[in-house]
Symmetry: D2
Subunit: 379 residues, 4 copies
C-alpha cells in the first residue's frame, strides 16, 4: 500500500490556517484557525481538493442528519466539509502505514474501535457516534459531521480513514472516490451484488451516477438508471448504464420489469422520493434488495405486505464503510469508469459560498462542484 | 437421519379418503377424494395431526396472501391446511431418505429446484411459486396454499419438505415444529442471531411464543416479549422470556431500551400492528435487525429516515426455509423449550369447522388448536 | 435471460448420432449411438464445440477423480467430455427458461436437488454424486464424469447446467466460459475476493490463466502469476497479470511478499505441485485464503502449524458452482478479458484422438484444444 | 452489560505487586513489580483466579508459538499466563463500559484496530501482532504472549478484551469462559455450526471438552468425542457428548460414519496428532469443515486430494475472537453446560511451579489447574 519514496518530502507547516467555520445556520465565515496536531493513529492532511456534497448543504442549514451528542454544530467554531483529498504532511506517533508526501483521499468515519459494531467491522454504525466532544471522548470521528472537516487548508485524519490516491489521478477526481465508495458499500459490501445480476439506480445524483459506474465495474448485467432529467441520464449512459428511464414520460416499474425479464436483483435508491420504496418493491424479483442511500424527511406510506410477500431486504447506508473506499479506489485506479464525467465546476477555497450556491441551486446543471486549494511551494 | 427399522411396517392404503375442500369463500365441505399417488421425489403421508394457523383462516376466507398463478383457490376442490405431521405410508420411485413407517413433520414449500432462488438455497422465495397447475408445472408445491394441504387423511409431500419427528414427541407437539422453524428461520438463518444478543418479540401469537423459546435456546441474553394480554405474556415467561411488557400499561420502547442497556439487537415482529416497524426501529441499537413475520394489510406510515440513520436491516419471511425446520426439530428433540405450552385445544377431523372457530375467535383463549386424526389399525 | 425469438427455429433431429465411447482405459471408439430424449427439466443440446480438459485425459486413462457409485466408466458405452457449448434443439416438458435455437454453454454438475448440500445451493458438493445409474437414480448428473458427455453430436442437459452464450461470442470462446467459471467460483463465490485485494495464481494452465482474467475483472489490485514457462507467463500478462514470476530463476515467495507489501490475500493453486500448499502459506498475509483447483495424487508433507498460526483458510473446489458460470459469462459478455488467448488449436470431431494427443503432450505448446462440430443445414 | 452499582466500591491499589517473571527458559522467579497504570481504553484488573493452559507451558519452555517482533520473551521481566479473571479496580480515561468493582474475564487479544484484519473484525489475526514493544507500538496486546499476563496480582487490559462474569459464577469457573470461547469461535463464528448438525471433537483436553459443551448448547444433533483415556471420555459424556470413541480399541472413522449416518458436518481437532487432518477428512461428509485448534510441530503427510474431492474446508484458529468469549459467557451464564467438571486442582499464586507441574505431568489426571489469588480486604 505504501509506495517507497526514496526521500520523503518535508513540508513547512504553518501554525495557523484559513478555514471556513459555521456560526448560526447558513452563516459561514472565513477565519484563521490553528493548524491541529495529529495524535495517536492520526496524520495531518493538507487538503488539496474537496467536493461539495448535498449533506454539506444540510449540515450548514440544519445540522447533521443524525443526533450529535453534545448538540448541533452551530456557533462552535466547527468546519464542515467531508469529501476531500490531500497530502499527508505530518505523522502522529508510531505511524508507518503512510509517509509524509503520500496523496490520500479520506472516508468520513473513524469508529471508536471499542463498541460492538466497530469490533464487527461495521464502523459506520459505531455505537459511540459523535462521542468526541466534552467529557467523554471515545475517539469516534466523523470529519465534517462531528469533528472538523475539509473546508479548510488542513485537517486531522485517523489513519483508518485514509485510502491512497493513484499516481495518475487528478485531485478533483480523487475527491469522488468516497462517493463511489458509498455506492460500492451499498451494492457490494452490504448488498452482495455479483456479476451477472441486474441493478436499478433511482436518482441520477452523484451517488447514483457513481453507482452506475460501480455496478457495471462489478459486472452487473443490466444497469438501469431512472431519473427526470435527460442530460443526467445521458451521463449515466456514458458511465455504463444499459438503459435509462425518464419517469416524466415512461412507467419505470414496467420498463424495469421488461428490461430485466421479470424483475431486478437490486435497487440502489438515491432519489429520496416519497414513493421510492414502494416502486422499488414492484421493480424487484422475489428475494431482491433495496439499498437506501437517500430518504424522505417525513414518514411515508409503505406497503409492508409487498416487502414481506416478496422476501425483499431493505437496508440503509450512512456513507461508505468496511473498506469500500479502498475497493472503489482500486476500480478507479484501473479506470473502470470515468468518474470525471460528474465533476462539472471548480472554485477556489475563498469562493466556497459560490460553490455551495452552485451545488444547492444546480446552477448550470452542476453535479459535483469541487473546491481546489492552492498551497505555497513546500507547504 | 433415517433410523434403521428392522421390518418396515406396511400400510393398507385406501383408494379414497375423507378431506375438507373449499367451495366459495368460507365454505368448507367434508368429502371423499381419491388418495393421491406419490411421484418422483415424493412420498404419501398419512396425516396424524394438523394445527390451525392464522393463515389457514385467511386462505379459507380470502385466498392465499400471495398471488397464485391460475387464480384463487375457491371452487377448485382445494384442500387447505399446512401445519401437519404424520406417517410415511408409501414411497415414490428412488426414495431412500425415508422409509414407510417414519413419523415426519412437514414444511410448506418445495421449491422448483431450477430457478435462481432455489439454486441459492432460498427455496421459500422460489420464482416459480404457484406453478403447479395448468399448462406449466414447474414442480413448485406449497401444500395448503397452492397444492392440496392437510385437512384430510392423506397428502403428497416432496421429500425436501419432510423432517423426522423424534420418537418420544407427541403428534400434537410435532405439528408445532414448523411454527418454531419459522421463528428459527427469521432469527437464525436470515437474522444471524448469536448467543449473548438481545431479542424483542412483538406479539405473543404462536410464532412469537415459539420465537421466545427459539431465541433462548440459541442463547439470547435478554428476550423481551411484548403484548397486550397478561396470560399470553405469562406463557412467554414459561417459555423463557426474561422480561415481558404489556403495552396496555407500559411504554414498550422505553422498557426495551432499559432492559437492553440502550437498544436490542433484533426485533421479531409478529403483531402486524400498523406502527410496529416504527416502534421496532426505536427499540433497536444501531445496526439492529427487524424480521417481519406479520404485516398490516394496508400501507402504513414509516419513518424511513430512522431506518437509514440507524443502519437498520428490515426483512420479511414467508414461513420457514433453508433447513430451519430441521434446526427447530433438533432443538425440540433436545427439549430446549416446551412447545406444548401453546397447544390449547384438540378436535377431530370431522370437527374442523369448530376447530377453525376456536382459532378464529380465540375461544377459551385458544392459541394452537390441533386437529387429531384417528386411523383404523394398519391404515 | 431468454431473448424473444420471433419464430423459434426448428431442427431436424436424427435418431442416431456419432459419438466417441470409452472401452478399456485409453480406448476410444467412434460409434453410432441413439440421440437421447430430454426428460423433466432437461433439454437436448446439439454440440457445436467442445474443449479438451486435463480431467478428460484422466478419465479416459484412469476413470473419474472421484468415486463413482457403480464402478468405473470403462466398457460401459460411456461418452466423455464436459467443456462444451451448443444449441438447444429440443425441450423436455414444461421448459420455458430456454427456447429451441438458444446458444448455450454448460456446467458439469446438476445436483440431485434433494440432499442437504443441494438445498444449501452447494450443488457441486451434492451428496448423491454419481447416483444416476442402476437401481437408485437420484437425478444427479455430471456430464462427462458420470453421465454421457460432449464428445458426440448431441447431449442431454439439465436446465440448471445451462448458461446463455452472448450473441457475438464465437463457439470456441464459449467453451471457455466454464473454465473461467471455475476460477470465478474459487475466487469470488467461495473465496470472497473483493476489489483491491491481491491474488497469486500458481500454475498458468487454462484455469490459472482464466483466473488471471477473472481476478483482474473483479478488481484485484495485484495479480501475480507464477509458472515455469515464459510464453505461458506472457499470455498471463496479456490477460492482465500485473506481475509474473518464473520459479526457474526467481524465488516466488520472496517476490510475492515484495509485490504485495507483506503477503497476498489469496492464492489460487492450479499447479498440483507437492510443495504448493506450503509455499502458498508463506506467500499469504495473516487471514489469507488458499483455493485448491489442483492437487497432487499422493499425500504430501504440509506444515499445518504455519496454516494455524497465520489463520489461513484452505478449501478445494470441484469445478464451478453456485451460479459462477453465469457470472463468468456475464464478465466475458462484457469483454473484460480476452479468453480467446488460451485457445490454441482446433480439430474436427473425428480427429478427437489427435486433439487429445495435442492436449496431453502439449504439442506446439497447446493450451486449450477445441473440437469444433459441423452439422448439416437445419440439424 | 454494565450492571448498575449503587455505590461503586473503591479499592486501595498498592504501588507494587507480586508477580512471576520469566528468566531463561523454564526459570520463573517470584518478584515484586510495579502495579501498571491503565491508559486509553484500558483498565487495571485485580486478578482473582487464573487457569494454566498448555500454551503457558510452551511459552515458559520455548517462547510463544508465533513469531514475536522483537524477540523471545526470556529475560525480559515478562509475566506469562493468559486464562484469568478478576475485578476491575481502576479505569483509564473515558471508560464508561465498565465500572470499578465489576467482575470480568479476559480474552487474550486486543487488536491494533488499524490493520485490515482488525477493521474486518478479525482481531485475532491482527497484522500488527506483537507490535507493542520497542520503537513501533501499534497498540496490539496479547496478554501472556507479547504483553504481561496474569501470573501476578494485577494486569492491564484493553476494554475490548473484557467480558462480564455472571454474578453467581465462581472465580474458578469464570477462568474457563475463554476456553469455551475458543471452542465457540471455531464452531460457531468461523465454522457456522447450526442446530441439528453433527460434530466430532478430537482430543478431550480442555478446549475439546468445552467444545463438547458448546456444540451441544448450540443444538448439535450428534456430538462424538474421540480420545484415548476413558475417564476423560466419561467427563465428555457428562458435558453432553452423545457418543465417545476410544481409539485404543475402536476405529474412529468407522464409528463416526456410523453414528452420523454417512459422515459428520464438523471436526474440531484438539489433539495435535499427526494423522488428525487425514482422519478428519474421512470422518466428514462432502462439504464438511475441519477446525484446527491444535497442530503437530512438524510437517505431516496430508492427502490433499481427499480434501479437494470432498469439498472440505480447513481452517485454524488462534484462540477466541469476534466476540466469541461473550457468546460463551452468555451460554455459561445460562448454565447450558457444566464447565466446572474440568476444573480439577487449585493452588495459590506462590505455588505456581507446583501448579504448572500438575498441568504438565497431568498429575492425578489434572485437566484444568487453577491458581486462586487472595487479596487483603479492600485491595
Amino acid at each position: 500500500m505504501n509506495p517507497v519514496t526514496q526521500v520523503p518530502p518535508s513540508f513547512k507547516i504553518p501554525t495557523s490556517m484559513k478555514a471556513w467555520v459555521l456560526g448560526d445556520p447558513d452563516q459561514l465565515t472565513f477565519v484563521d484557525k490553528p493548524v491541529p496536531e495529529p495524535g495517536l493513529a492520526e496524520v495531518l492532511v493538507r487538503i488539496d481538493a474537496i467536493a461539495v456534497c448535498a449533506t454539506d448543504l444540510e449540515i450548514i442549514h440544519r445540522g447533521p442528519p443524525a443526533l450529535i451528542q453534545g448538540g448541533l454544530p452551530f456557533n462552535k467554531n466547527f468546519t464542515p466539509g467531508h469529501e476531500y483529498m490531500g497530502t499527508v504532511v505530518k505523522l502522529g506517533p508510531n505511524i508507518d502505514e503512510y509517509q509524509v508526501g503520500d496523496r490520500v483521499t479520506v472516508e468520513v468515519h473513524a469508529g471508536c474501535g471499542r463498541c460492538e459494531r466497530c469490533r464487527e467491522g461495521m464502523y459506520t454504525a459505531c455505537l459511540n457516534y459523535g462521542k468526541n466532544y466534552g467529557g467523554m471522548n471515545k475517539g469516534h470521528r466523523a470529519n465534517g459531521f462531528t469533528t472538523d472537516g475539509g473546508f479548510a487548508q488542513y485537517a486531522i485524519n485517523n489513519i483508518n480513514t485514509l485510502a491512497p490516491v493513484p499516481q495518475d489521478m487528478s485531485d478533483a477526481e480523487a475527491t469522488l472516490i468516497v462517493t463511489a465508495g458509498t455506492a460500492m458499500y451499498g451494492l457490494d459490501v452490504i448488498g452482495g451484488l455479483v456479476a451477472g445480476q441486474s441493478v436499478v439506480i433511482m436518482g441520477p445524483g452523484p451517488i447514483g451516477l457513481m453507482g452506475v459506474g460501480v455496478a457495471k465495474a462489478l459486472g452487473a448485467s443490466e444497469v438501469i438508471l431512472i431519473g427526470t432529467r435527460d442530460n443526467r441520464l445521458e451521463i449515466g449512459r456514458q458511465l455504463g448504464a444499459d438503459y435509462t428511464v425518464n419517469v416524466s414520460n415512461e412507467n419505470a416499474v414496467e420498463k424495469v420489469r421488461e428490461y430485466t425479464h421479470g424483475g431486478a436483483h437490486y435497487v440502489l435508491e438515491c432519489s429520496g422520493a416519497p414513493n421510492a420504496v414502494n416502486d422499488a418493491a414492484l421493480m424487484l424479483r422475489r428475494g431482491g434488495r433495496i439499498c437506501l442511500a437517500a430518504f424522505p424527511q417525513e414518514p411515508v406510506l409503505i406497503d409492508v405486505a409487498a416487502l414481506v410477500r416478496n422476501n425483499i431486504y431493505l437496508f440503509g447506508i450512512r456513507g461508505e464503510g468496511k473498506g469500500a473506499t479502498h475497493r472503489a479506489a482500486a476500480l478507479m485506479a484501473q479506470k473502470r469508469f470515468n468518474a470525471k464525467l460528474i465533476h462539472t465546476h471548480t472554485f477556489a477555497l475563498e469562493e466556497l459560498p459560490t460553490a455551495l450556491r452552485y451545488a444547492r441551486e444546480r446552477i448550470e446543471d452542476a453535479i459535483k462542484v469541487v473546491v481546489k486549494m492552492t498551497h505555497p511551494e513546500g507547504c
